[in-house]
Structures are given as structure tokens and as C-alpha cells.
Amino acid sequence: MKEPMVRTGTAAAPQTAEKVSIYGVVAEFESPEALLEGVRAARALGYDKMDAYTPFPVHGIDEAMGIRRSRLGWIVLGGGIIGAVAAVLLQWWTGAVASPLVVGGKPLFAFEFGLPIIFELAVLLAAFAAVLGMLALNGLPRFYHPVFKYSRFDRAADDRFLLALEANGAGFDAEQAAEILKSAGGRHVEVVTE
């Protein structure tokens, strides 16, 4: 069986590891189950910073990797509250303070007519907070990621399940990480540089 050709210069050569900082150690797994095994093995040995790259969503991967729920909901809530408060201040200040003018016999400010604006501005800023907060949390958009250097990264979009143990995790050791991935059934283990 022939292995696919390894692109030259993409896999980190050991001699460059001293000069270039390491991103992490990446391995390839054959199936979602094997990937989950690898994740559990790494977690059991204290590795907490890792990422998986798979062709389709793998059930239970979040729990296995110990990914906590996103804080995005709180950011959206904050955006919504700011929008609602801003809408009250805007309508009250313009209508009742800066330029008091009675229109149609209505009060200068009232929640009855203020509510549509309050609702709309709350929704608008909540939506902005959702999009911008999402981008801030996941670090997108970005044109480059070190994991692209992994020689077989394209297989993550096809039929393989990749696991990267990242170097910025506590107690990271490249040799130990490679050993964990290998013994958990990972293949084509490579050290990837930044």
C-alpha cells in the first residue's frame, strides 16, 4: 500500500523545532470512535488544549474534549439590554428634554409608543452582539492557521479525523504528546510549527 506523497517543507522537521515555536502535535484517526479514543487518552493525561478536525460533526466530541458552553449568549443578552436602554434614553431625551413638542395630544414620552423602538433597537444590538461576539470568540476571519501545515490536513475534509494537541496547553511536551497519540491509535503523527 502506497502512502500519499508528503509535501516537502510542510511537516516540521525536528531540527527546526528549536528555532521555530511549536503549534502542536497532530495525528490522524480512521473513524470518529478512534478519534474519541484519542481525545479521551489525551485528556486522561492532562492535555486540555486540543482541537479536532473532522469531515462532519461528531456526536459527543464537545463533551469528550471538555468544551464548555459558549459565552456568546451573555454577550447577546448584554447587547439586547444596551439596545433597550439606549432606545428609552434616545426617545425620552429627544422627545421630552431636548425638543419637547406635543404630537397628537400624546405625552412627551410614554412606553406605549416607545416600545416598538425599544424592541427593535434591542433586537438590532443583540444581533450585532451575536455576530461580532461570535467573531471575537472564534478568532475569525483569519487567512492562516498553523494546522494547515499538517501534511495530510486535506483529508480532514474527506475521510479522516484529525486531532491536534496544542502546545499552549498546560504541561505540554511534544514527545509525550506524540506518544499519546500514537498509542491511542493515531497515525501520521507530526509536530507542527506555528
Binding site: 449568549g73 397628537g104 406605549e112 409608543f113 416600545l115
Partner: protein, 401 residues
């Protein structure tokens, strides 16, 4: 795919325990008997409070059943998988509607006691009611109500039968048939619920009109129906039924629906209020004027906070929707608020002060226990979940992101 090849995962006992069923039947029958006895006493004593109390109780329970019919058609139309294991409960609640038509008869007989437009002497002195007489007359009212019950009953029975057929082996044809029936059914449901709200509730103030009133009542009805489905399923869970088939993932989704419909209700209720407040035309504001006078003002405030702010805040966190005790509390609270709202819509026409009378309680118990008895009886005829539905396994595997 032939039905013989498919293996249905059996996690729960989909048949109700006979002893449990008998105990439930006896309790409901006792409650119904008690309720009807008190109600009959109230009727024979010639109490003027009888008809309003009865109308309120009937509309309250019917809106819940209509909400369940809405649930069933919505799931078929959207092709939802998550709700399949909960669907039989909703179908059975909706199946009570055709039987409930019998309980509508007292309202037909009490038209002059309930509606101004059904009193000839009032109409004779009122040019507006004379102009509306071609629509607001007892015969038209009865015919329109009959049409509503016919349509609701037909769709409730058709969708239930189609679902039950799946129990012996679901096919793609049956799944498609359910969706096909639901499409016109949903349109007809929207039109008939509007019609019924106009006739039964809006015409209590025959001078007043609001075009959004039908959706207003429908939004509350849908919310109450979803709350009832949630509560019945949670009660079943306590009795040891459907424990694996309807789990935290499914309750989480039901909670999301309660949250969404709470917001929808508030949106519609406020739309009606704001336009009338802004227009400030006496013939339109009269309705709210009547309902914010004296003690009714407190009831209106209770609705704003109790029907919107409280469930909105309680159901917002993910953890609350997955906590079954919190969810049960929220669903029960929403059902209570549905009663308070209909009380606030109906009763100011008959009473100057807000306050619960013994006959109101008796009517709710009598009609409710009768509805529940019919539900209980229908429930035992088939499996507690549509086990043969093609999406059944998918529903069992469902998880929230």
C-alpha cells in the same frame, strides 16, 4: 424500505398500566360529577353568573385542545423529528375537540344571557346592532360555530387516524399524507379560530372590533396548548410513562416553544393595545377602558407581568428549560395565566369587579374533568407514542446542540 425490515427500538412500555388507568378514570369521574353537580345547582338557582362562568370554562379548555391541534399540524408541516415521541399525547388532546362540541350546546341555549345582540329589545333600540344583525344573529352564530367544530373535528380525527395507522408499520405515504392534510388544515385552523374568537369573545362587546383579535386569542391558545402538552408529558413521567422516549432533550425543545410563544403572545397583545392607544378613538378604547377600570386594572397588570415578564425571564436560561421542575412550574403558570387572560377578556362585560366566584371554579372543574376524561378514555385505545412513525428512532436520538 419495507416495514418488516425496520426494527423499532422499544425503550418504554407504550401501553398504560390498567390499574393506573382505572385510578385516573375514577378520580376524573369523581371531579367531573362534583363539578357538574355544583354547576347544576348554580344553574337551577337561576344564578346570572352561570352562563359567563360556563362560557369562560368552555373556551379555556377548548383553546388548550386547539393549541394541541396546532402542535400536531405544525410538526407534520415542518417535518420535525424531535417531537414525534410527544405527538400522540398532543393528538389525543386534539381528539377531544369533536366530543367537546356537545358541551358547546349550553352556550347556544344561553345566547340572550351572554350576548347583547341576541336580545331583540336591545337590538331594537340600537342602530349599530341593527346594522350588524345580518352577521350577529343567533342562527348565523350557531351555523358558524357548527362549521368550526366540523373542521376542527375532521382534522383532529384524520390526523389521529393517520398516525394510529403508522403503529402497525409506518410508510412514507402515511408520513406524506399527514403533511398534506396539515397544510390546508393549518390555514383553516387560522381562519376558524379567528372566526370563533370574533363570534364567541369579541361579540361580547358587540360595538367593539379589532382585526388582530383572532390572532391574539390564537397566540394564547397555542401557548396554552403547548404548556398543556408539556405538563401532561411531565405528569406521565412522574407516573413512570414515556420516561426514555421523552427525555431532557425533548423537554428542552418544548421549553423553547413555550418561551417563543410567550414572546409571540406579547407581541400580538401589545400590537392590539398600542394601535388602539395611539388612535385613541372612543369606540376602540372602550374595550380597554372597561378592562382597566377598578380592580380589573390589577388583572391587566398581572397579565403584563405574569403572562410576559415572568415566563420570559424564567424560561430564558438553557438550564431552566432542562430543569424539569422549573419547566413544570412554568407550564402550570402559563396555563393559569391563560385562564386569567380569558377571565379578563370575558368577565368585565358581566361584572364590575374582578373576583373569582364558586360557580367559576365549578365550571372549570366540570368542563375540564369532562375533557380530561375523554382524553383519558381515548388515550388507552392506542400506544402512548407513534411507535411506527418513520422518524421515531430519529426522535429518540435527538440531542440539542
Amino acid at each position: 424500505m419495507s416495514s418488516a425490515e425496520r426494527t423499532v427500538q422499544v425503550l418504554d412500555n407504550y401501553e398504560m398500566d390498567a390499574r393506573l388507568w382505572r385510578r385516573g378514570r375514577n378520580a376524573l369521574a369523581l371531579l367531573a360529577l362534583g363539578g357538574w353537580a355544583v354547576l347544576a345547582a348554580g344553574y337551577s338557582s337561576g344564578s346570572a353568573a352561570f352562563y359567563p362562568a360556563y362560557l369562560l370554562a368552555f373556551v379555556y379548555w377548548l383553546t388548550i385542545a386547539l393549541g394541541a391541534l396546532f402542535f400536531v399540524m405544525l410538526q407534520h408541516l415542518s417535518g420535525a423529528a424531535w417531537s414525534v415521541t410527544s405527538r400522540r399525547v398532543a393528538e389525543t388532546i386534539a381528539l377531544v375537540i369533536p366530543l367537546s362540541a356537545v358541551l358547546f350546546l349550553p352556550i347556544v341555549f344561553g345566547l340572550p344571557q351572554l350576548y347583547e345582540w341576541a336580545r331583540p329589545e336591545v337590538v331594537a333600540a340600537d342602530p349599530v346592532l341593527q346594522a350588524k344583525q345580518s352577521y350577529l344573529n343567533p342562527r348565523g352564530f350557531t351555523l358558524r360555530a357548527a362549521a368550526c367544530f366540523l373542521i376542527w373535528g375532521l382534522w383532529a380525527v384524520i390526523l389521529y387516524r393517520n398516525s394510529v395507522k403508522q403503529d402497525d408499520g409506518g410508510t412514507l405515504e402515511l408520513t406524506r399524507a399527514a403533511a398534506k392534510w396539515s397544510a390546508p388544515g393549518m390555514i383553516l385552523l387560522a381562519l376558524t379560530v379567528s372566526l370563533a374568537s370574533f363570534d364567541w369573545l369579541m361579540s361580547l362587546d358587540p360595538h367593539w372590533f379589532s382585526t388582530v383579535f383572532g390572532i391574539y386569542i390564537w397566540s394564547g391558545s397555542g401557548l396554552a396548548g403547548f404548556a398543556a402538552i408539556t405538563l401532561v408529558l411531565l405528569a406521565f413521567r412522574r407516573m413512570g410513562m414515556l420516561r426514555a422516549s421523552v427525555n431532557h432533550e425533548h423537554y428542552h425543545d418544548l421549553g423553547k416553544w413555550l418561551f417563543a410563544l410567550t414572546v409571540f403572545w406579547a407581541y400580538i397583545a401589545f400590537s392590539q393595545y398600542m394601535l388602539i392607544w395611539y388612535g385613541n378613538i372612543p369606540e376602540e378604547t372602550a374595550w380597554y377602558h372597561e378592562r382597566t377600570a377598578g380592580t380589573w386594572r390589577s388583572v391587566a397588570a398581572l397579565l403584563v407581568f405574569g403572562r410576559f415578564f415572568v415566563p420570559f425571564a424564567v424560561l430564558m436560561p438553557r438550564a431552566a428549560k432542562r430543569n424539569l421542575a422549573v419547566l413544570a412550574g412554568a407550564a402550570a403558570w402559563i396555563l393559569l395565566m391563560q385562564y386569567v387572560e380569558l377571565f379578563w377578556v370575558i368577565m368585565p362585560v358581566f361584572r364590575t369587579e374582578a373576583g373569582l366566584m364558586w360557580i367559576d371554579v365549578a365550571a372549570v372543574a366540570a368542563v375540564g374533568a369532562t375533557f380530561a376524561l375523554a382524553f383519558w378514555w381515548l388515550l388507552r385505545r392506542h400506544a402512548l407514542a407513534p411507535v411506527g412513525d418513520l422518524r421515531f428512532t430519529k426522535a429518540l436520538e435527538f440531542t440539542n446542540v
